[in-house]
């Protein structure tokens, strides 16, 4: 089946149009994105540092203070996602809002909220793990493999 000249012209026009669109589309402002990610991510870590030093000043060991800091940051990440503030921040900050542990909390709450109509058990309860599940899977698997590697090294 050969294409008639009209169709060929149409295809050519479409290609030209796509080419034009790609040329005119604003390039992702890489430097600006990186600056936002650096500043917002850095500031989130400063909040974590303040929380950690507060718990150390209360007499907790450094290791427990880190656990308390993670727990507090997860609480804050979940709260600000619920309030609708975290995703607004994320639109500008990109990886600056994804990489910190508050971003992990965000990845749990944001998809879970959207699936309430499917119920609180298999809607919210299942969708909350759509990103957290794979993350924990790879984290746990890595920790088991590292533990077993350490075991082998102890017997060598």
């Amino acid at each position: 089946m050969g294409k008639n000249p009209e169709e060929l012209l149409k295809t050519a026009e479409q290609e030209e149009y796509h080419h034009l669109v790609n040329r005119m589309k604003p390039k992702p402002p890489l430097a600006q994105n990186c600056m936002w990610a650096f500043v917002v991510g850095g500031l989130i870590c400063v909040v974590g540092q303040i929380i950690m030093e507060y718990f150390i000043s209360l007499g907790y060991s450094r290791q427990d203070a880190v656990s308390l800091e993670s727990t507090s940051m997860i609480f804050l990440g979940a709260l600000f996602t619920g309030l609708g503030i975290y995703d607004n921040l994320g639109a500008k900050a990109g990886a600056g809002s994804v990489v910190p542990i508050t971003g992990f909390a965000n990845a749990i709450v944001a998809p879970a909220m959207e699936f309430k109509r499917e119920g609180y058990i298999f809607g919210v309860g299942a969708k909350m793990f759509s990103i957290a599940g794979p993350t924990l899977l790879f984290g746990f698997t890595a920790s088991v493999l590292i533990g077993l590697a350490k075991l082998i090294m102890l017997y060598l």
Binding site: G48, M73, F140, A142, G147
Partner: protein, 118 residues
């Protein structure tokens, strides 16, 4: 001073994530970033390369998800020395139990209590 170091190290780790997201085609999703950070953090930690970052940056290295991977790896290594092979299965999760339980419980509560904004 510790606040400045947390800002610089934490900001730097986020900047690397942004570069990965922007310079890969097709773009790496935030989900991939989370999986990548926890896994690479655990591996760096196993080779003793993450602890120096924690010593320098404090929360700047423990707040990013790579710090969570670091806790998983160090927990497994520590408990293997104490309990043998059982420690490989219990160590990582015991070390991070607080954070994981908080994420599940607070995450569920927030999703139930709040509605999505648009």
């Amino acid at each position: 001073m510790s606040l400045l170091m947390a800002f610089l190290v934490g900001g730097g780790l986020c900047l690397i994530g942004q570069l990965v997201m922007d310079l890969t085609k097709p773009g790496v999703s935030p989900g991939h970033i989370l999986v990548g950070y926890i896994t690479i953090g655990a591996l760096l930690s196993a080779f003793g390369l993450y602890q120096p970052l924690v010593d320098i940056g404090g929360a700047g290295a423990t707040v990013p998800l790579s710090g969570f991977g670091h806790s998983l790896a160090q927990g497994a290594i520590k408990e293997v020395a104490e309990k043998g092979w059982l420690g490989a299965f219990t160590g990582g999760i015991s070390a991070t139990a607080g954070g994981i339980t908080a994420a599940i419980v607070f995450g569920y509560l927030a999703a139930v209590l709040f509605d999505p904004k648009d």
